[in-house]
């Protein structure tokens, strides 16, 4: 019983990290209907940038995180302006953007391999020690990760509801002609969306990097999990992605407990197939 509770707690923590990672994917898709197949690599890149600053100075992780956020935001803007924007103007963009981002992801993965090497890296946890409630064991670091993710989600919510740009992104997600007639510059909003999503994704990569080992190939794992999560949650629904991430995180942890770690991937894919057969639009999907 204690093992089950610990597994669920562990799953909730992993789930909240997955949620942070899936948010960026949902944001891009929701606003521009572009599915970022290079998503996992974007998270990894954000993590590697922060990793560079570790041990270089005191407060290295914080400085690294800030630099990563800014760099990933700019990277997102550039990717949009120079590659996605031209593709969107041509017919068949739904496919061309997917293929392009997939290819760019592979390219970036190999660049990371060249620059950082194949040895795993990790970002140290920021709080030592833990908490013991009866049979349940949680460490402070992982709790702080959940708190950080919750704070990030709350900040994003406030951004979308209260700022002019956030409201514009929400409007574009719902109706492009509607956004045009109220005077929103669609192109500019798309660029900012990519920037924001890349920054959020990179940030989630840093968080993931404190719990899992980083190597250039783990990006694809994150990508696949992110893909399954947003499909479960309903493409374009941020709350759906969050619920799905937490549920799938817990399911994954329970499966690992009762089966073994080898079953992680089969479980994800079986769940995905069940979803496609029973409710392909996702839990909260339907307003694509």
């Amino acid at each position: 019983m204690a093992n089950l509770i610990n597994a669920i707690v562990s799953g909730l923590i992993a789930g909240s990290l997955y949620a942070a990672m899936a948010l960026g994917l949902t944001i891009i898709y929701g606003v521009s209907r572009v599915f970022n197949f290079g998503h996992g690599i974007v998270a990894l890149l954000g993590a590697y940038i922060a990793w560079l600053f570790l041990g270089q100075m005191t407060g290295g992780l914080l400085a690294g995180t800030l630099v990563s956020l800014v760099a990933m935001f700019l990277f997102g803007l550039l990717v949009y302006r120079f590659t996605i924007n031209p593709l969107l103007k041509k017919p068949g963009w739904e496919t061309s953007t997917v293929l392009f981002l997939l290819g760019a992801g592979i390219l970036l993965e190999n660049v990371l391999l060249q620059v950082f090497g194949p040895r795993v890296k990790s970002i140290p946890s920021f709080l030592p020690g833990g908490l013991r409630l009866g049979a349940v064991q949680v460490n402070w670091h992982e709790l702080s990760l959940v708190v950080i993710v919750l704070a990030a989600i709350a900040a994003l919510n406030a951004f979308f509801k209260r700022t002019r740009t956030g409201q514009a992104m929400r409007s574009v997600a719902q109706s492009i002609p509607g956004a045009q007639v109220v005077g929103i510059d669609i192109d500019r909003i798309y660029g900012l969306t990519f920037g924001l999503a890349f920054a959020v994704t990179g940030f989630s990569g840093i968080l993931l990097g404190t719990k899992y080992y980083l190597n250039p190939h783990i990006g694809w794992e994150w990508m696949v999990k992110g893909f399954v999560i947003v499909s479960f949650g309903g493409l374009g629904s941020t709350s759906g992605a969050i619920y799905a991430a937490v549920i799938l995180g817990v399911v994954e942890a329970i499966a690992v407990l009762y089966l073994s770690a080898i079953w992680v991937w089969p479980i994800w894919f079986v769940l995905f197939m069940v979803l496609l057969l029973l409710r392909p639009q996702g839990i909260l999907g339907g307003r694509l």
């Binding site: 409201q167 002609p177 109220v182």
Partner: protein
């Protein structure tokens, strides 16, 4: 205020606008009549920047706005109310109106525009916190017009505002458009099939057929029968 000269537009290989020439003076209400599928909506889409022109010129208050993108045209003071409405369905009435005031010129005027909009459409004040996906056809029409007004326009391009509405609502919508022109001095170019009502509202009319202007008349010099005849 609005000068359209020899405007052409295409959908792929299909020529829809074949050299449209018309003008709208400041403060006027001008109605555009004509059969369906002949390009009236396309004309409004090109004027508002939602569809690219193939040839010709559009001038607004002396400025050439021919190939400007939609958001620039809204900034200059032209608001387009599409027939399809294109509301933000998962936002409330108030949030839609708030988005209507997105452009920088409209922001400081938001409170007074909101007041005006609720005064001509009291129903919307009652429904202000309701999701737009739950509104009736007439109510969502009102939100579409109100949202356009929130952008602080000098010129309103309205595409068939009364289509699909009950007679009572139709009158209310035309009444509101008249009020918008009289009380705010906003210039109106309205595409309509409701000839009777539109003739009462308009000062001048254009007959539009096969992608071109067929004729132009002052509204008091033409009757419904003559217009209906020109349809066929």
């Amino acid at each position: 205020m609005l000068e359209v000269r020899q405007l052409e537009a295409r959908y792929g290989d299909l020529q829809v606008l074949r050299g449209v020439t018309l003008r709208v003076g400041e403060g006027e209400v001008v109605a555009l009549f004509g059969p369906n599928g002949h390009g009236k909506s396309t004309l409004l889409k090109v004027l508002s920047g939602l569809h690219p022109p193939a040839a010709g010129k559009v001038g607004f208050n002396g400025q050439d706005i021919t190939a400007l993108p939609a958001h620039r045209i809204v900034e200059l003071g032209i608001a387009y109310i599409p027939e399809e409405r294109h509301l933000f369905r998962d936002l409330t009435v108030y949030e839609n109106l708030n988005m209507g005031a997105y452009n920088m010129r409209a922001r400081p005027k938001m409170a007074s525009n909101l007041e005006f909009v609720f005064s001509i459409f009291p129903r919307l004040a009652e429904r202000r916190d309701q999701m737009c996906s739950t509104l009736s056809g007439g109510e969502s029409r009102m939100v579409a017009i109100a949202r356009g007004l929130m952008s602080e326009p000098a010129l309103l391009l309205v595409d068939e505002p009364s289509i699909g509405l009950s007679p009572g609502l139709r009158s209310a919508v035309f009444e509101a458009i008249g009020q918008i022109n009289r009380e705010k001095g906003i210039t109106i170019l309205i595409v309509e099939q409701e000839i009777r009502h539109a003739l009462k509202l308009a000062g001048r009319i254009y007959m539009f057929k096969k992608g071109q202007v067929l004729f132009e008349r002052p509204a008091d010099e033409v009757d419904v029968a003559e217009i209906e005849k020109a349809y066929f």
